[in-house]
Symmetry: C2
Subunit: 157 residues, 2 copies
């Protein structure tokens, strides 16, 4: 069972922005931190923007940042947004591959219920949970500490 690379990158992208807190990040710096393709991440940034998770600030010193508080971004919502069809097996897309038994298939029902259970668990997590090991993550991604006031607050966590 695989999520798309696109979902994988989207989640890591959001984590990076969560660690930057109120500061802007660029796609280039995120790509460098994770050592992944900048081209892929530009698509990710576009789609996360359309979905309302991030916002873009234009200009020479522009970049991207989260559009919502980290506690308000649930993982299930991100995955449902980046994996829109959740077509677990080809027969979920009858046009692609019509299955002989599609009309009375209990398997579809089972897989659909399993899929809901999957995203329900992810809804128990928000972006705030993902960045809980804040100082270690910052160090691994070479993200500098934010301004003094914010840094003090983050030590309390």
């Amino acid at each position: 069972m695989r999520l798309t690379v696109y979902t994988d990158y989207s989640l890591r992208f959001l984590m990076y922005l969560a660690l930057k807190e109120d500061r802007l990040a660029t796609v280039s710096e995120i790509a460098a931190s994770y050592n992944v393709s900048k081209n892929h991440l530009m698509k990710v940034a576009y789609e996360l923007g359309v979905a309302g998770f991030i916002e873009t600030v234009r200009g020479r010193r522009g970049g991207v940042r989260l559009a919502k508080p980290i506690e308000a971004i649930r993982l299930g919502d991100v995955v449902r947004s980046t994996e829109p069809d959740m077509a677990l097996v080809t027969c979920f897309k009858p046009i692609e591959a019509p299955c002989a038994i599609r009309r009375c298939c209990v398997l579809r029902e089972a897989l659909e219920r399993a899929c809901t259970a999957f995203t329900d668990v992810l809804d128990e997590y928000t972006l705030a949970d993902l960045v809980r090991p804040r100082s270690r993550l910052r160090s691994m991604l070479s993200i500098a500490l934010p301004s003094k006031a914010t840094a003090d607050a983050s030590h309390v966590r």
Copy 2:
């Protein structure tokens, strides 16, 4: 989110055998019924045999049949067998794509829990549930009715 085509075919293969009841089926007839590649299904048959779900009877009139009662084959077990790594995202396979934050990633924990919830739901279903609409499925797959005694029993379900 996708299961492999291989899992999809494995589940449909087992359903076919469940509908044949005690009679042998050949890979060719199953491929023809679902209108899928015989080559793919030979691999499926081999792997389902190794996993102990089906058994092969040799000889000119040979074929395959289920190795267990349909009530004893849980969907979760099949999926865990056919999707052995359940590597939802590439970072689950660190050799393929080492992720910068692998060592303190809460995302992994969330995805692993979600994955368990997924297969737990599938464990609520056995092959017996999948072939409950027995007569309709038989008709869609052009599977002849079994011998009188078995047919009578299946009408009761």
